[in-house]
């Protein structure tokens, strides 16, 4: 599915004293199979943009088109397209309501009209991707789970619908480091197998470095940059203007470069930075 965002603007509580413009004049095109990160400080309009793409809000100006049809339209065509967009919200407790963990995950696939066997298979598959143990979780009440477990559960509920477009809003906040690593790896594997469109909203630069090939930087509701993740996430002046620091590996490489190391500075991940440093180090015979 092709997502076209054209001249998109959104104002909360328009024509009231509390009116607040969250987005203005946003143009974006996202093709099937792309992995796009949306980065921006708190209040930059990231979550609003996601909700507009999912057809949950009606634009104040401009359009969001899903394969040419307005995302929020009340037509059968638009509804079918909206069903293809799965969105995991920033606050998982906003979307969780069932009595047990398996029922929570089964809710979506059951509503798709799938048979019991298929629903059960999807529940098992989705719990596995998010790293929740189906046996341990069989009788757990969702609202008694820990913060990180709840986030995993909310995501499992969306994954079980197997949407061709997946929007993740801060997917790893509250996840422990191993859980985060495993989740990112499994989502990426699934993305590669299925040509999933992945849209990740985050202010965690390391998440974006791992998940996104392209990064859109939003500042005050406008697109401040849109380009390859490697370029956007290593552009110190651009990021600092938006109150972000470069990721720690980039900060290290830039510090080394300033003191004379001939290292490339656009290596976003710890392992990439280590490889880069080690290569330069051995090419100089261990003398820098």
């Amino acid at each position: 599915m092709l997502i076209s965002v054209e001249g998109l603007g959104y104002t909360y509580a328009p024509s009231t004293p509390l009116a607040r413009t969250a987005l203005r004049g946003v143009d974006l095109e996202i093709r099937q199979g792309e992995r796009v990160g949306i980065l921006g400080p708190t209040g930059s309009g990231k979550s609003t943009l996601a909700q507009l793409i999912a057809g949950l809000l009606r634009p104040t100006s401009g359009h969001v088109l899903l394969d040419g049809v307005a995302a929020h339209a009340r037509t059968a065509d638009a509804r079918l397209r909206r069903l293809k967009v799965g969105m995991a919200f920033q606050y998982p407790e906003h979307q969780i309501f069932e009595q047990t963990v398996p029922r929570e995950v089964a809710f979506g696939p059951r509503n798709l009209g799938l048979n019991d066997a298929e629903v059960e298979a999807r529940v098992a598959w989705a719990l596995d991707i998010v790293g929740l143990d189906p046996v341990e979780m069989a009788d757990r009440v969702p609202l008694t789970l820990s913060g990180g477990e709840m986030r995993r559960l909310a995501l499992a509920g969306i994954l079980a619908m197997r949407p061709p477009v997946l929007i993740l809003d801060e997917p790893t906040a509250n996840l422990d480091p191993r859980g985060r690593q495993e989740l990112l790896t499994r989502v990426l594997t699934w993305q590669a197998e299925t040509e999933l469109t992945l849209i990740v909203i985050s202010h965690n630069l390391d998440d974006l470095a791992r998940l996104a090939e392209r990064v859109v930087l939003l500042v005050a509701g406008q697109v401040a940059a849109d380009g390859p993740a490697r370029e956007v996430l290593s552009d110190r002046p651009l990021l600092e203007d938006a109150s972000f620091d470069v990721p720690p590996p980039v900060a290290l490489l830039q510090a080394l470069r300033q003191s004379g190391w001939a290292v490339a500075t656009n290596r976003l991940l710890a392992e990439e930075a280590a490889t880069e440093i080690a290569q330069v180090w051995s090419s100089t015979g261990g003398m820098v």
């Binding site: 400080p41 708190t42 209040g43 920033q90 606050y91 009595q99 047990t100 009788d139 757990r140 009440v141 008694t144 789970l145 820990s146 913060g147 990180g148 477990e149 995993r152 801060e170 906040a173 509250n174 996840l175 422990d176 480091p177 191993r178 859980g179 690593q181 202010h203 630069l205 109150s243 972000f244 620091d245 990721p247 720690p248 590996p249 900060a251 290290l252 510090a255 080394l256 003191s259 004379g260 190391w261 710890a270 392992e271 930075a273 280590a274 490889t275 440093i277 080690a278 180090w281 051995s282 261990g286 820098v288």
Partner: protein, 292 residues
């Protein structure tokens, strides 16, 4: 020992020079849907002294939030004891005294606001202590000053940025003049700037005001800012030491499902590739100067 003697001993104990927070064999169990229970805390012994800055880390579901909710009596032990400043949380008459001493700040700032302006929100706690108006005013002003939000006193809380919201919540906790503030993943929803400001605020409250800080976090980089680090796994405290000591146990950390701060991770990978680096490089700055 007679009942009277036992009570007498307890009263005596509460006066003595004891740790500020003391957990004795603390266990907590949650009931499951359809019977059975999950043991979230499995016999924890722990003490925290006045003025410490402690980071608490651990995998999801390891019992971190359950543990901290015991420290101001939001949860009571299934067995074992929690003492705060010589007061036992299980005594209903101690609860309000304990909550004056231990303030709590949660993850999602949106769920914590009760009033329509920042200063009214901050006043909510001390107001309930029945303070005279001028004392209340002073405490609210002091608390807002300490977190750097004086100029936002009359703003509606929901119009603030995420970091400002969390600092408002911290000011609310401060206004009751607690000896200790506990924060349960307070920065997980914040952008890096909000994170940095919140951490700077905590550091200055600890260093300048002597307030005891217990910070629950999933960020290993954040944990390096503490002077003491606790690791919880499956309802137990499995490691307790300085960040350098705790992160020095590389392989065990991985077994616990925890990561390393970015600088340590890069340093480890560089050592694997033959570079000779000293131990205990916790920050990017330290690693950069070791390499230059």
């Amino acid at each position: 020992m007679s009942k009277k003697q036992a009570l007498g001993n307890q009263a005596l104990e509460s006066q003595g020079a004891r740790p500020f927070i003391e957990l004795r064999a603390l266990t907590h169990a949650y009931a499951l849907e359809g019977g059975g229970e999950v043991r979230a805390l499995q016999g924890i012994d722990l003490t925290i002294e006045r003025g410490e800055f402690v980071a608490l880390v651990g995998p999801n579901g390891s019992g971190k939030s359950t543990l901290v909710r015991h420290l101001n009596g939001l949860l009571l032990p299934t067995s074992g004891q929690v003492w705060v400043d010589g007061l036992l949380t299980a005594h209903p008459s101690s609860l309000w005294k304990i909550r004056e001493r231990v303030g709590m700040v949660f993850q999602n700032p949106e769920n914590q606001f009760v009033a329509s302006t920042v200063e009214e929100d901050v006043a909510f706690g001390p107001e309930n202590l029945g303070l005279p108006p001028d004392e209340l005013r002073r405490r609210v002003d002091d608390a807002l000053k300490l977190v750097g939000l004086t100029e936002y006193a009359t703003h509606p809380p929901h119009m603030l940025s995420g970091g400002q919201k969390q600092r408002t919540a911290i000011a609310g906790a401060l206004a009751t003049r607690p000896a200790c503030i506990i924060l349960d993943e307070p920065t997980s929803m914040l952008d890096p700037l909000g994170r940095r400001r919140t951490l700077e605020t905590l550091r200055s409250l600890n260093q300048d005001q002597g307030i005891t800080i217990l910070l629950v976090t999933q960020s290993m980089d954040e944990a390096t800012a503490a002077e003491r680090m606790l690791v919880m796994v499956r309802g137990r405290v499995v490691s307790d030491g300085t960040p350098a000591e705790v992160f020095g146990q590389g392989q065990r950390l991985r077994e616990w499902g925890l990561g390393l701060p970015s600088a340590l991770e890069i340093a480890d990978r560089l050592r694997e590739r033959g570079l000779n680096l000293p131990a205990g490089l916790l920050t990017v700055e330290q690693l950069a100067s070791a390499l230059c």
